[in-house]
Symmetry: C2
Subunit: 261 residues, 2 copies
Amino acid sequence: MVDRRGAGDEVVTTAAAKRSADAPAESAADVRERARAIPEAAVARLAVYLRVLSGMAEQGVTTISSEELAGAAGVNSAKLRKDLSYVGSYGTRGVGYDVEVLVSHIERILGLTRKHSVAVVGIGNLGHALANYGGFPSRGFPVAALFDIDPDLTGVPVGGIPVNHIDDITSVCAEREVSIGVIATPPQAAQAVCDRLVSAGVQCILNFAPVVLQVPDYVEVRKVDLAVEMQILSFHVARRADEAAGDVVNGVGVDGVVIRP
Amino acid sequence: MVDRRGAGDEVVTTAAAKRSADAPAESAADVRERARAIPEAAVARLAVYLRVLSGMAEQGVTTISSEELAGAAGVNSAKLRKDLSYVGSYGTRGVGYDVEVLVSHIERILGLTRKHSVAVVGIGNLGHALANYGGFPSRGFPVAALFDIDPDLTGVPVGGIPVNHIDDITSVCAEREVSIGVIATPPQAAQAVCDRLVSAGVQCILNFAPVVLQVPDYVEVRKVDLAVEMQILSFHVARRADEAAGDVVNGVGVDGVVIRP
DNA sequence: TACTGTGAAAGAATTCACAGCC
DNA sequence: GGCTGTGAATTCTTTCACAGTA
């Protein structure tokens, strides 16, 4: 019912493989076809590789092997190479990858060649933190608008940007070409805010409210749910405790890992 | 290399199936075995179901079908039933699930029957927001300690809890039985903070710093990387734009979805 | 009748392992 | 010799579809 992958959207796993390796300057159609074939899970990791590579570049590193990059990104090298193969074949056998080349190709695939303006809705504790978060603008996501329902906040600058009233969301988003909406409101308000963002034309939403948002198919939602993260950690604590109670013999658990007292 | 699943830790997919359905009051060993067999992906969803169910219970709902619960949680009903089957068979055919029963069983599986004290390290914008975030304590994760490296902050109460200096992390974490550490520091400090948390005995870490943390195998790390979330959204914006350029005929894209102008 | 619980099938993601190239 | 790129194998996850039951 909420399946986002359409019927005509077949996954072409071998699309990249079919292309000859020596293709000159890819066409827009090639990029398009390749981008569509990249698995979701790989996209998330590409963003991590990009960050690591940017750091490397700043330190003057020009070349890196899959093994090194994988280590720095916390994945194994086979997965890394597979992920990079979705982007294209930009490594040199026996040598490794050119850091700058890889950075620019990943940026292209992730669509970072254009700026994506962000609107934050809900200027409470979290909204404040997000408005002031330096990681957004520095990575090509300028915070272009802030909204809150409290009229007392309207006009008050937060992180250098004056807060708008939420009733102005449509006009302000259009004017400032907002492409990503961030919901940092209390849970009760989240769905209504989401609806307004969508009718304002925003097609990508990052949701911090602990609510499952209902949106049309063409809108992409990602959620960050702190309580859920905590509960996943809790599950692992519990599992570990269970293992300790069940499998531990002489203080040594599975794998010979010593269980801490 | 960073594989967290040990050699002796075989996944027993059919463990639950082998158990007879009429087993009386599960033993601790049963819970343990079942918990180990739950797929990661299902654990995250169980936390979402739990939240939805809690909301239902508050509204006085006592019974719910898989279809209804799935709709509210944003998944399809087959997946929901499969997920719940990992927890056990607590539904009634032809009727549905008793909300309270399900809540208590999910809580048990997620290890929420005990409290998990949380320490937040790095009391900047985000740290402030986290210290004040009501969603933690209300879900069984009391914030028990705050740490920062700035001596001027030491003793200042944030969200009702005085900030400690980071040098006291070991003693304070031990004393207050912290089981989850939250890293909200600048990226440069994150690995050092992580190391200190680990040597203080904290085995679960939620990391907001855009850094890949290196930890021993027995430590569980989850990360929330806002820039990565943004970049995933960016990828989808780009893909959509590509589709619009390539596949759209007469303003209608794949699946007959109208691409917005 | 209406809904759960679950084997079996299908589909994704990960890992292996090695051919191919520098 | 060293390292990439990738088919094939494996493992994990999702979905199907229906037997079973209140």
